[in-house]
Structures are given as structure tokens and as C-alpha cells.
């Protein structure tokens, strides 16, 4: 219960930011950061809680983005409906990829590879198919009205993405406290043991994949509405597959706030790197790569994990010998 209050508090604080900050540059940074946090929260459901590491989450981001864009641009459907359709399409893609991969029993390296392959296939198809605008991409016409999911002020976009992130946080929170979540975590820890306890591992992984894909697809749909442009390398490129996994890993896999913390840290590092060296391409991603290696080496449970460990360490130190003595006596 206290975690629900924490989500509320964090969201409230973040919602107040546009009152104090009026710089478009900063607001833009925050919007993009929250969008990445959303994509990362999606990955976190499958990878963090479920332990299935996808290297191709771009497949869902891009599908959400393209469906949102295509339905608007080619069929004139209302932008919010397109956004919802994008999420549904992302979820469906997740269901297909998950069904194929998990039924085939793919785990670990093989799973990472197959997700990578699916994302690549979609990227190639999108880069030549006429409906996606092929190499040129799709431009969404400017229509700065709320009913078209476009807003004249960045602050409005900021509040929308914040709302989406809040929903994702609550989904993670609910998952953690649910039976489905307990089963999912059990599958992550030891799939065979979980199955012996009555967990239908394939169904659970598939469910996680669908939720994960839907959330990341929402980030993709938002991207389209914010930037009003999408093409194959943006929609299905490795950049988003990497950032979607980087933020939860750095922030803390399998935690509610991990992706959000991770996104703030990663994006800040990226911006910091650019400030130091000017806008030379490559430096920000270089930093990401280095940080990923360092985090795995020294803090595999991420930033949130480090804090949780520190807190647990304090608690253990306050209740000293009891545990040690108890253990010796009971054996």
C-alpha cells in the first residue's frame, strides 16, 4: 500500500515541474526522458520481472508508432483512437513473437536473438513497404488541437507522457502484488521449480510479453504524436531496443521505479556528455555502452537495487546476532 502512495507522490512532484520550469529545452529533455522511461517500463515487465531479455523491443515500439501514424495519415482516423490501436497492435505483435518463441522453448541467448531478428525483419519491411512511406517515412500533418493528440505547449505533452508513465508504474506495482507477478518472478528465478509448483510458465511468459509490448508500443505511439515523423530506422532501429533495456538495467531490473530512475540517469549522462564535447555524434551512446558494462560489473541490481541493499544492510545491522545465533542453533 505504501508503494501506491509513493507513486502518487513522485507523480505529483513531477507534475508540478512545468509550473517552475518554462524552458522548452528542459521540457523537451524531460518529455523524451519520460518517453524512454515508458518504453523501459515495458521492457522491465518482461525482462526485469520475467527474466526474459529481449534485444528487439523496437519491434513493439515501431509497430505502435507506425500504426498510430498510418491510421491517421492514410485513413484520417482520430489520433487518440489511432494511439489506442497502436497499443493494441503492439500487444498483438508481442503475442505473436512470444507465442512463437516460448512455444519453441527459446531461452536466454536464443530468445535475445529471435527478438533481435523480428525487429530487424520489421525494419527491413518498413523501409521498403509503400504503406509506411518506405525510405522517406511518414509525416503526420500539424493540427495543434487536443482532440488530435497534439498540443501547442510542450508542458501539455509532458503531462500526457507523465500520465502514461504513471499508469505504467501502477501496472508494475499491481503486478508485483498479484499472483501473476509472483508466478512471473518464480519463472524468472527457476522455471522448472515454478512449473513443479503449478505455474504454466509459457502462459505466464506470454502474458508478460503482451503487457510489455503494449506499454512499449504506447511509447512508440507517443513518439509519433510528439515528433510528427516516423521512419524505419527510428521506429525499428537498435537505438530504441538498446535504450529500452538500458534504462531498467541501470535503474534496477524488476523494480517499479527502476526504469524511471534509469531513464533520468541515462539521459542526463547523455546530455552531459554532449555538453562536454559539443554535439559530436556517438559520444552519448558510447557513454551508455560503458555505463551498461559498469553497472553489470559493479551494480547488477541497478540504482534502486543499491538503495534497497543499503537499506537492508542497515536493518540487518540493527538486529545483530539474532539471525546468526538462530542459524547456528537450527542448522
Amino acid at each position: 500500500m505504501k508503494d501506491a502512495w509513493l507513486i502518487g507522490a513522485v507523480v505529483a512532484v513531477l507534475a508540478a515541474v512545468p509550473l517552475a520550469v518554462h524552458s522548452n529545452v528542459v521540457l523537451n529533455f524531460l518529455v523524451v526522458t519520460l518517453m524512454i522511461a515508458l518504453a523501459g517500463q515495458g521492457w522491465n515487465i518482461l525482462g526485469g520481472y520475467g527474466g526474459q531479455y529481449s534485444f528487439g523491443h523496437a519491434a513493439f515500439f515501431g509497430t505502435g508508432a507506425y500504426v498510430t501514424a498510418i491510421l491517421q495519415v492514410r485513413y484520417g482516423i482520430n489520433a487518440w483512437l489511432c494511439f489506442a490501436a497502436g497499443i493494441a497492435a503492439g500487444a498483438a505483435t508481442g503475442a505473436i513473437v512470444g507465442f512463437l518463441a516460448f512455444r519453441a522453448g527459446l531461452r536466454s541467448s536464443y530468445f535475445a536473438l529471435v527478438t533481435l531478428a523480428f525487429a530487424e525483419v520489421l525494419r527491413i519491411v518498413a523501409s521498403v513497404a509503400p504503406i509506411t512511406g518506405a525510405g522517406v517515412g511518414l509525416l503526420v500533418p500539424l493540427d495543434l488541437r487536443a482532440q488530435s493528440f497534439q498540443f501547442p505547449s510542450r508542458a501539455a505533452f509532458y503531462l500526457v507522457i507523465l500520465a502514461l508513465v504513471a499508469i505504467a508504474l501502477m501496472i508494475a506495482q499491481t503486478l508485483e502484488r498479484s499472483r501473476f507477478g509472483a508466478w512471473l518472478i518464480a519463472v524468472r528465478e527457476n522455471e522448472d521449480a515454478a512449473m513443479a509448483l503449478g505455474v504454466d510458465a509459457i502462459a505466464v511468459k506470454l502474458g508478460a510479453m503482451v503487457i510489455s509490448a503494449a506499454i512499449t508500443a504506447a511509447a512508440g505511439g507517443f513518439y509519433v504524436q510528439y515528433f510528427l515523423f516516423i521512419d524505419a530506422p527510428i521506429a525499428y532501429g537498435t537505438w530504441i531496443s538498446v535504450e529500452a533495456l538500458l534504462t531498467p538495467i541501470i535503474g534496477g531490473v524488476g523494480t517499479v521505479f527502476g526504469p524511471l530512475v534509469g531513464a533520468l540517469v541515462v539521459k542526463s549522462l547523455g546530455e552531459g556528455a554532449k555538453l562536454v564535447t559539443g554535439d559530436v555524434p556517438g559520444l552519448d551512446l558510447m557513454t551508455y555502452g560503458a555505463v551498461l558494462v559498469l553497472v553489470i560489473a559493479f551494480a547488477p541490481r541497478g540504482i534502486v537495487g543499491v538503495f534497497a541493499d543499503a537499506r537492508a544492510g542497515v536493518v540487518r545491522r540493527l538486529k545483530p546476532s539474532e539471525n546468526a545465533v538462530g542459524e547456528a542453533a537450527r542448522g
Binding site: W183, E189, G331
Partner: protein
Amino acid sequence: MAEPLLSVENVSRRFGGLLALDAASLSAPAGRITALIGPNGAGKTTLFGVISGFLKPNAGKVRYGGEDVTGEPPYHLARRGIARTFQIVQPFAGLSVRENILVGAHLRHRARSSALAVADEVGRAVGLGDLLDRVASTLTVAARKRLELARALATEPKLLLLDEVLAGLNPSEIRDMLPVIRALCARGMAVLMIEHVMQAVMSLSEHVFVLAEGRIIAEGSPAQVAADPAVVEAYLGHGAAAKLKAAHVY
């Protein structure tokens, strides 16, 4: 007499060129402890794998509660009431003891609060009451064995498969575990245990099956089986029974 809860009929299982199980049959009635013994490599854990759905047999049937459940997946069998422990303990290492047992409890209890209550109760019943908050990876071997048992019990099984649950325990730990196991069939559970610790087999089980090289070579009460020359040979080698007899050992 009614059909026993578990009935394994002529199960065979091959791995490449190795015939691990050769038309093995056994049964385990409700409310009793049945033991499965045999020398190392006899195929006991393979048989458990078949019964619990982790392996499909090449031939033969597994009947449970009067129904043919051969080849059903493990989670299905768990829902029917078959629970097992693993020879090499498989805790959910990063989770606490309580969270470990919780996963088992969730099988029958959807709501977290009721599942937690069951988990606490089961944890206390096997003697882990003071360790409920400890992370599973920090437990001693004996505690992990109890955790393995607790998790399986939390699924409220009717048939419990125990795979060498006493292995690696020192004599006093074994002495502490025996009453816990004995209490299980008081609730009407059928227990089938693979065990090497003979004192446990003798004192706990009412019926014993002996598996050697994939075949059931003997069955009966513990005393009968212990006196069976074929069993002695299986453990001690060809001709051992005759030598022992000649030396008036039995």
C-alpha cells in the same frame, strides 16, 4: 481394494542408447509412505521425472486418482495434486523464504493475503518459522531442504514425491526431519520417497520398491526387502548375497 492413488504401469524411458527405465511399475496408496530405493544410477529420479510430468515415457502409463495422466505437463499435474521436491534443491534464490513458499501457496489461493497466510503457516509447520524473512540463497542445506518441502506442501498436494530430501543432512538434522515427514500422511497424503538413508526408509515407510538398472527387482515391507538376496546383490554386487549368507550375516 480400491485403486491406489498413484499407479505407475510398465514405464520405460530411453535416452539415446541408454534404457533408463525398463517396464518399471509401482504404486503409492493414500495415507501411506512408500519408499523407492536402489543403487545410484538406477533411474529413480528419472522415474520421478516421468511421474511429475518433466519427462515423457517411451512406453507405459502413469495413473493418478483413477485417471491416465501420462505425459501431462508438470504444472497440470501440480494442479491435480502431485507435488515434488528436487534432488538438487532449486530454491528461488533471490526471494525470501516466505516469498518462496508463497509461490506454492498461490496455486490454491489467488489473493496474496490468503496465500501469505498459508505460506506462513506451512513455513512454521516445517520449522522455518524464524527464517521466513531470510533470503533463500543464504540458507543452510538443511534449511533449504525444509524450504523445498514447504513449497511443495503449500500446493496442498495429495501425492508428494520426495527426492532424497534427507541427503546431505547430518544425523541430528535427519532426526528432526523424520517426524515432519511422518506427519504428512496423517493428513491423508500419499508420500513416495526416494531415499538412500536406510534408517529413514526402515522407520518411515510401509512399503518399499527397489529399482536397479531401470527395473523393479523387489518390493515388500522394509524387512522383507532388506532380506531379499536380489536387493543385496544390486547394492553390493554379484555374489555378495551368497557370501553374506555363507558368513551367517543373515
